[in-house]
């Protein structure tokens, strides 16, 4: 009975992981393929790092990656600042006129089809340019603003969830001890929601990093983000340097996840030990 169950669990595990990760593994393997054709394995000359060299020589890809990185960072920072403010308003000021509407509107971009968000933003930018002359043309500025509008919604959800668990009496205690509201926010609230802000930042970064639909609407001729580039390359036939690029990205993400995971596990373990020590001390 126990044996059969563990066999079942094991099978499910293997199939689950295979389903999720085999494509990525295949891609990683093919990034070392010498052949120019993505689907044909050139066993004579493989493995090779040729495509990695090619990749770093390809200024088009590197420029697109840099642009995407810049847009994603600025977007994440902006989204987190706006998201924190909105989350604070929603969570800490329980009664204000139009609160329900405000809550609804901030999260609407999550459920709105991206095509609609993209199109409406494009129309807005064009109208704005005609009316006030800003933003001038479409480019990284408009892409960043567009990304902020929808990644902010996710940032709000993440930060608000954390804020809801922060005991209000902590803020009241700080105020009671003489800290003005702004000071309370900076020295008490912010440190307590720092981890949520960090995850919101990463989430916003990733959302922006791989967005293509909205970007397509609001980008201009001089600004091609990495996903746009990959997408257009794929349409012309996949070139193997894309595999190399993707492999590098997978590597970065894996390292980040492992580091963050280890750190959090260590912290939890230390907290648990401390708590037990404190209990033991009282006897």
């Amino acid at each position: 009975m126990n044996d059969r169950r563990s066999f079942f669990v094991l099978t499910m595990l293997v199939f689950g992981f295979a389903f999720l990760y085999l494509p990525i593994v295949a891609m990683v393997i093919y990034s070392f393929n010498a052949s120019r054709l993505v689907t044909v394995w050139d066993s004579a000359n493989s493995p090779t790092l040729a495509w990695y060299v090619e990749l770093f020589k390809n200024t088009q890809i590197m420029d697109a990656a840099k642009l995407s990185f810049r847009i994603a960072s600025v977007n994440a920072t902006g989204a987190v600042i706006l998201g924190t403010l909105a989350a604070f308003a929603l969570e800490r000021y329980r009664r204000f006129r139009g609160r329900a509407l405000f809550g609804l509107l901030t999260t609407a971009p999550m459920v709105l089809p991206e095509v609609i968000t993209g199109l409406s933003l494009l129309l807005l930018f064009v109208a704005l340019e005609q009316a006030v002359g800003w933003p001038h043309g479409r480019g990284s500025t408009t892409i960043t603003i567009a990304h902020m509008t929808f990644s902010m919604a996710y940032a709000i959800v993440v930060i608000q969830a954390r804020l809801a668990t922060v005991d209000r009496s902590l803020e009241e205690a700080a105020m009671d001890l003489g800290a003005r509201p702004w000071k309370v926010f900076v020295v008490i609230t912010l440190p307590l929601i720092a981890s949520a802000i960090a995850s919101a930042w990463v989430l916003a970064f990733i959302l922006s990093w791989d967005d293509i639909v909205i970007t397509s609407f609001v980008s201009g001729p001089g600004s091609t983000t990495l996903p746009q580039l990959v997408f257009s390359k794929v349409r012309l036939g996949v070139s193997p340097d894309i595999n190399a690029l993707a492999t590098i990205l997978v590597l970065i993400v894996s390292v980040a996840v492992v580091v963050a995971g280890t750190y959090m596990m260590r912290r939890d373990r230390r907290r648990m030990r401390d708590a037990q020590a404190a209990l033991g001390a009282t006897g």
């Binding site: 009241e172 009671d176 401390d274 404190a278």
Partner: protein, 376 residues
């Protein structure tokens, strides 16, 4: 102080000017009235306890004293100054929260120093005052610990130190012992009183635990549905409750309905159908004759005996239907011929004693000063 005297001019000046004066305070949340027309005067150095069940408005009243809630009507004066509109960070008041609200990302020393830092106190002074305060609550050597490294009792003491280090005029305590286990509670409540006496800070405590209120408070205000029903010393509240609710809420009590049949200035007789007899009370009551009243008799004020007592009044007979031996005392349930069950507590004075048995027929008696007659 001068300003205060003119401001409170309407109040009779017989007693010393109150340190904290709450004047017809009302707080409404929408249609709900949390606190209704509460007026209260608290003297300097007092431990005043607001006692009531959950939702009675005691916490709202405390939060208004701290400045977290703005009163709908009324005013609060502390040391003669109207603080009704003063924000919490400018009030000479500190609060110890029920959850202690220690800042989890700061050490014990940083927690205690927080309030002084906000005032821009010098570094050396902060350090010495934090050290002094921590040794007062017996936490020397714990400066560098984080709150999660402390036990419940230690956290409570850090919270207390943090609230007292600014030397507030008034310290508010929200269920200060609520989160501690029973043994620690008894120990802590005496410590709390000692500390209060040493520092002379005026305490206002909110609690739902009557034992906590009785041991800590110099005076208690019993609250129900946003109103203060009675204010007095613990003994006043226990021995002279002014209403059914207070008598019932504080301690255990036998409450019987009755009707005034003889109303003299120096004594009354009350017919109680539930007891199947007449209760003689040796003091007058201010109640219209024939009005329905309630008679409250504390269980420890009733004596049980096997022989018929000699006193003429307040004697009944019943059968013991329940016995709970508690060590220091024994609780009995005695059923009267009418079917009404009286609770009686008897101290266990002797080790060897022929104790009363189940189903035994016993006499009950009480002194004519013991019953309390309440009309509402």
């Amino acid at each position: 102080m001068n300003a205060a005297v003119t401001a409170v001019g309407a109040v009779p000046q017989a007693s010393p000017a109150p340190y904290v004066r709450i004047d017809r305070l009302t707080k409404r949340f929408g249609d709900f009235v949390a606190v209704r027309q509460v007026s209260l005067e608290i003297q300097r150095g007092e431990i005043f306890c607001l006692l009531g069940g959950s939702g009675c408005g005691k916490t709202t009243l405390l939060r208004m004293l701290a400045g977290f809630e703005t009163p709908t009507e009324g005013a609060i004066y502390i040391d003669g100054v109207d603080v009704t509109q003063v924000p919490p960070y400018e009030r000479p008041v500190n609060m110890m929260f029920q959850s202690y609200a220690l800042f989890p990302h700061m050490t014990v020393a940083q927690n205690v120093a927080f309030g002084l830092k906000q005032d821009g106190t010098g570094r050396a002074e902060i350090e010495s005052r934090v050290r002094e305060m921590l040794s007062m609550v017996q936490l020397d050597g714990y400066e560098k610990r984080k709150p999660h490294q402390l036990s419940g009792g230690q956290r409570q003491r850090v919270a207390l130190a943090r609230a007292l280090v600014k030397r507030p005029k008034l310290l508010l305590l929200d269920e200060p012992l609520g989160a501690l286990d029973k043994k620690l509670r008894e120990h802590t409540q005496f410590e709390l009183v000692n500390l209060q006496e040493k520092l002379g800070v005026t305490f206002v405590i909110v609690t739902h635990d009557q034992e906590e209120a009785m041991t800590l408070a110099s005076r208690i205000g019993v609250m129900r549905s946003g109103e203060i029903l009675q204010v007095g010393t613990p003994a006043d509240i226990y021995e002279f409750p002014n209403s059914r609710f207070v008598a019932d809420f504080i301690g255990s009590v036998n409450m019987v309905d009755g009707r005034l049949i003889e109303d003299e200035p120096d004594h009354v007789r009350i017919e109680c159908a539930q007891l199947g007899g007449i209760v003689y009370v040796d003091h007058g009551v201010s109640s219209p004759p024939d009005a329905p009243v309630s008679v409250a008799i504390r269980p420890e004020k009733i004596q049980l005996s096997r022989e018929r007592p000699e006193q003429p009044d307040n004697v009944l007979q019943g059968v013991i239907t329940g016995i709970a031996y508690l060590g220091d005392a024994t609780r009995y349930l005695v059923r009267l011929p009418t079917g009404f069950v009286l609770r009686v507590t008897a101290p266990n004075v002797f080790r060897h004693e022929e104790r009363l048995q189940h189903d035994e027929l016993v006499w009950l008696q009480w002194h004519s000063s013991s019953p309390v007659v309440v009309t509402r």
